[in-house]
């Protein structure tokens, strides 16, 4: 078939460029003991690369990896600096205006992280308290909307990044931290007083995490979607999940201990590229 778009570019350059995040545990991060990029979604990206090698008949396709951040990931995709990013980007309507999003590779849910002694067990306990969120996250927007609609007198603060948010929790400036469950678990791994904290509350939003690629490139998207769907239906995805979420992970060999959710099980059975914001 005639190649177009990204696949054609890859075939010509014999190179594919992946974007990675430096500390998005366990999706995509740098293993400080080996200085290599690892993670569940990064592994997904590498599977896609394998599929491309096969499709294009390029066994020695080169892979380049460049670090990206929340701010520049979209521009980097758009201007062709990177061809694919699989880092835990949530599929939202705004993003779909600028880029294409692949089949969902994981679904995460938002919950609360709190000190065991805080007396917070669910969203309703937040009344009159302070909750911290990470600036720019979808959970921030959800929390603001939630509080407004329920007319709660909850005080919301935005922290610059996850670890600052956790620091606010540690120093008692906030009673709870509202965020993706996986992020919360990963943060607890690093904390030395992890035993004092608990992830709690009824899961709120669902977030469909997907890979980003350039818009209007049906050939490439089809290939990416096919690869993701195949790994999910074949059971490979579940094995991968267990390796990253239920077993020791680098660099220190901690265990996240987050069993596969029903939503994810459902996704693995019926792969799709739907998002939860419609």
């Amino acid at each position: 078939a005639d190649l177009s778009g990204t696949l054609k570019k890859i075939k010509n350059d014999k190179v594919i460029v992946l974007g990675y995040r430096e500390s998005s545990v366990p999706w995509s991060y740098i293993d400080s003991s080996t200085n290599k990029v690892v993670g569940y979604s990064h592994e997904t990206a590498l599977l896609i690369v394998d599929a491309i090698k096969q499709e294009l008949g390029l066994p020695d396709l080169q892979v380049r990896e460049i670090p990206i951040t929340a701010q520049n990931r979209i521009s980097l995709i758009q201007n062709g600096s990177i061809d694919l990013e699989c880092n835990g980007t949530t599929n939202t309507a705004e993003r779909r205006r600028q880029v294409a999003l692949s089949d969902t590779f994981a679904i995460t849910q938002t919950q609360l992280l709190t000190k065991k002694s805080s007396g917070v067990h669910d969203m309703s306990d937040l009344a009159g308290k302070t909750v911290v969120v990470t600036a720019g996250s979808t959970s921030e927007r959800y929390m603001r909307t939630y509080v407004q609609q329920k007319h709660m007198d909850t005080n919301i603060v935005s922290a610059k990044d996850h670890s600052q948010a956790f620091l606010m929790l540690q120093s008692d400036r906030a009673a709870a931290f509202f965020m993706d469950r996986d992020v919360l678990s990963a943060l607890l791994l690093k904390a030395r007083d992890a035993a004092d904290y608990v992830v709690t509350g009824r899961p709120q939003t669902k977030e469909a995490l997907a890979c980003m690629l350039r818009k209007d490139d049906p050939q490439f998207k089809a290939l990416v979607d096919k690869t993701i769907a195949a790994m999910q239906t074949s059971g490979k995805a579940e094995k991968m999940y267990n390796r990253w979420f239920m077993s020791p992970i680098p660099p220190k060999g901690d265990v996240l201990n987050a069993p596969l959710s029903d939503a994810m099980r459902e996704l693995y059975a019926h792969p799709n590229d739907r998002s939860f914001d419609e």
Binding site: Q71, N79, R97, G136, S137, R173
Partner: protein, 245 residues
């Protein structure tokens, strides 16, 4: 590049009842009010420390020099984090509890304004003392020779001229205060820069968002410049051409 421009994005709803424009404007308000508070602190402390630097008393001068060196030689960002994260930990128990149990926003505001105010005061102190020393040495002598005490000499002779002379550098310091307040975004204050970043995250329209924020900063700066020029004109002395930059 296949970018979807969407300038109307500012009028879309961020969360129910709030448009992105209203977010930007609240960021603008925070930037301006923090800048003004920090400026007030900086001007008062900076004048005092600046005068101390030129005082004939050695201990005063040394204290002032130490003050300036400390606040000038640590990056603003580091100072901010120290004010926010470290200082409360060093406070006595009771004060610590009081600070930590403040609402987070007042807490951030307190740390941010104190930090920026002290930092600005060190920079202003340098300008003030430079202004005083740039006056012809004879002015101090002329004041003293008329029988003024040292304090009167500063009050009636040296400072009125000093502040007129240093209006140009004060103008750029005044504009700098608003710019420096941008680091407050790093402790999670939703001032203008932080709102800009938030808009990028939420809307995926980085160019529109940053353009709007940049324009608002230009607006702040032009207003600041205009205000200072107005003051400069108000205090202009007939027959004296004071070099403007």
């Amino acid at each position: 590049m296949n970018y979807n421009w969407h300038w109307g994005v500012f009028f879309t709803e961020a969360i129910p009842g709030q448009t992105y424009l209203s977010w930007l404007l609240s960021g603008l308000g925070l930037t301006v009010s923090m800048g003004l508070c920090a400026w007030a602190i900086g001007l008062v402390l900076g004048s005092i420390v600046g005068v101390m630097r030129t005082a004939p008393n050695r201990w005063l001068a040394m204290f002032a020099a130490a003050y300036v060196e400390i606040f000038r030689n640590i990056p603003l960002l580091a100072q901010l984090f120290i004010w926010y994260f470290v200082v409360p930990e060093l406070l006595p128990q009771a004060a610590h509890a009081w600070v930590v149990h403040l609402q987070p926003q007042p807490q951030q505001m307190l740390a941010g304004v104190l930090c920026l105010g002290m930092y600005t005061s060190a920079r202003l102190a340098v300008q003030v003392s430079a202004g005083i020393t740039s006056l012809p040495g004879g002015q101090r002598n002329a004041g003293l020779a008329l029988g003024f005490t040292l304090v009167q000499t500063y009050r009636y002779v040296l400072l009125p001229m000093t502040f007129r002379i240093i209006i140009p550098p004060l103008t750029s310091e005044f504009m700098t205060v608003f710019k420096n307040s941008a680091v407050m975004s790093m402790i999670g204050m939703l001032e203008l820069t932080a709102q800009g970043q938030q808009l990028v995250d939420y809307t995926s329209q980085p160019y529109e968002s940053f353009t709007a924020v940049t324009m608002l900063y230009l607006l702040i700066n032009m207003t600041a410049l205009y205000v200072m020029r107005w003051i400069e004109k108000r205090v202009q002395i007939p027959g004296l051409v004071m070099g403007r930059r």
